[in-house]
């Protein structure tokens, strides 16, 4: 995914997170759009640390807007990005089941680490409170990732040409130009 697209998606996620998403809050808990997007892009596109790096400024902004301490979600998100990127190497990135498994593990990991850092900084919420929070946050995040997955799949299918070759997800720069050139030659 290109930098422009990723930045645009994160910006939209950030704006929606603090406005429209509050409508759909259940007991005050809303899905974490930046987290969902970061997991999805890291897992689906083989772009290394790029999605996690782009997520950092947006996570910092979200901390500024409503976080107790600035930098906590950025730090946790970056560590999660590293982990998903490293562990995702050995997994099949095409199937929905593995994406959902990674999403569940990612959400739990993110919230656990977030809670641990806040606890170290003096927050007194217990692990039980975290579990209560996860009981709502986990299905909410999975729902968002499912929606993103189906939207992505529809767009991806539309872009598949009659030749059977897809012209998305081919890397960037010179590789992309070469692939387009090859596709034209094949036709």
């Amino acid at each position: 995914m290109s930098y422009k697209k990723a930045v645009l998606l994160y910006a939209i996620a950030l704006i929606l997170q603090f406005s429209l998403l509050n409508i759909f809050s259940i007991n005050g808990v809303t899905p974490n759009l930046i987290l969902c997007l970061m997991i999805f892009i890291t897992y689906k596109y083989n772009d290394g640390l790029k999605p996690a790096l782009i997520a950092i400024p947006f996570a910092l902004l979200s901390d500024l807007m409503g976080g107790q301490y600035v930098g906590v979600s950025a730090l946790v998100l970056f560590i999660l990005g590293l982990t998903v990127n490293y562990l995702g190497r050995g997994l099949n990135r095409e199937t929905l089941s593995t994406l959902l498994t990674v999403s569940v593990a990612g959400t739990v990991f993110y919230n656990l680490l977030y809670w641990l850092i806040l606890t170290m900084l003096g927050n007194s919420s217990t692990i039980l409170d975290l579990l209560k929070f996860l009981a709502i946050a986990l299905p909410a995040n999975l729902l968002v990732i499912l929606i993103v997955f189906f939207v992505y799949t529809r767009i991806y299918r539309r872009r598949i040409r009659p030749t059977g070759y897809a012209i998305v997800n081919m890397g960037s720069g010179a590789n992309k130009r070469n692939n387009k050139f090859n596709l034209r030659n094949m036709r």
């Binding site: 409508i23 005050g28 807007m65 409503g66 730090l75 977030y114 007194s124 919420s125 217990t126």
Partner: protein, 272 residues
């Protein structure tokens, strides 16, 4: 140095983690506050976020109107009844107005100020909530341009919301009473001599203890601010939901459900 050059990715990653750790540490040492740069960012974000929040608020109200029509009808009936009762109470209270005027004269004579600040209030719309979803802090769209200062008191129609922790030109960060570091001195509405201290328990409720462990407090008792410390007297805090005796501390410990519905909070008032 050669080792770092050979392991560029590892060095860069470790560097980023270290910088982010420093961010967290710096924010912690500032007590959760922002630097000048952070405040500048916050002002820009507030300007961008404001129209979206207003639009979302409108959509939310429409949804609530559609799906909770019966609830709204019932609430309307209850409010009409409450209105009648209040009219009756008002009639009774007007009889003691003369007495009140005498007491006000007396307080002037003693140079006593019954309420902190200048008594004016400013309305604020919530534009972003704590992203840990526990509503310990949130941002409102009113700042120093409307005269808000640090430690001004924030309330809504149901009671005490919190206090102002940080102020920008067009925004203010509110730390709610649910924050663990926000201590509130309270008294029981039923019997003003029963007093104690409360703070957030990190799980959407308040926890505290009574100064007199022998004092009789029961579930359902309404708590109001006592006037000791930052918060002025008489603002509703919440209802006691459980009372236990802590043998180690030798104190009566209470859990309180706040009267303010933090999960659906949209507008607040700030006392200047």
């Amino acid at each position: 140095m050669n080792w770092f050059r050979r392991h560029k990715i590892f060095t860069a990653t470790a560097g980023i983690v270290l910088i982010l750790c420093l961010f967290v540490l710096g924010s912690f040492l500032l007590g959760g506050g922002s630097t000048i740069l952070g405040k500048g960012f916050q002002t820009v974000i507030t300007a961008v976020e404001k129209p979206f929040t207003y639009a979302a608020g409108g959509i939310r109200n429409t949804f609530v109107g559609i799906f909770q029509y019966n609830d709204v009808l019932n609430e309307n009936k209850a409010l009409k009844k409450e209105n009648e009762d209040l009219k009756q109470q008002n009639l009774e209270l007007s009889l003691t107005r003369e007495e009140l005027a005498q007491l006000e004269d007396l307080s002037d004579a003693f140079d006593f100020t019954p309420f902190a600040g200048n008594g004016e209030a400013v309305a604020g719309q919530i534009i972003s909530l704590d992203n840990s979803n526990l509503f310990q802090t949130f941002v409102i769209d009113a700042g120093s341009d409307k005269g808000i200062k640090v430690n001004n008191i924030v309330v809504d129609g149901n009671g005490l919301v919190g206090r102002i922790r940080e102020v920008g030109k067009t925004w203010s960060k509110v730390v709610s009473i649910l924050d663990e570091n926000n201590n509130i001195s309270f008294k029981v509405l039923r019997k003003g001599t029963i007093q104690g201290v409360l703070s957030g328990n990190g799980a959407g409720k308040l926890e505290g203890y009574l100064l007199d462990s022998e004092a009789k407090i029961v579930e359902g008792d309404v708590l109001v601010t006592s006037g000791v410390g930052l918060y002025p007297q008489g603002i509703r805090i919440g209802k006691v939901s459980s009372v236990t005796f802590d043998k180690d501390l030798q104190l009566k410990v209470i859990t309180v459900a706040p009267t303010v519905k933090f999960t659906s909070l949209q507008k607040v008032a700030v006392f200047l």
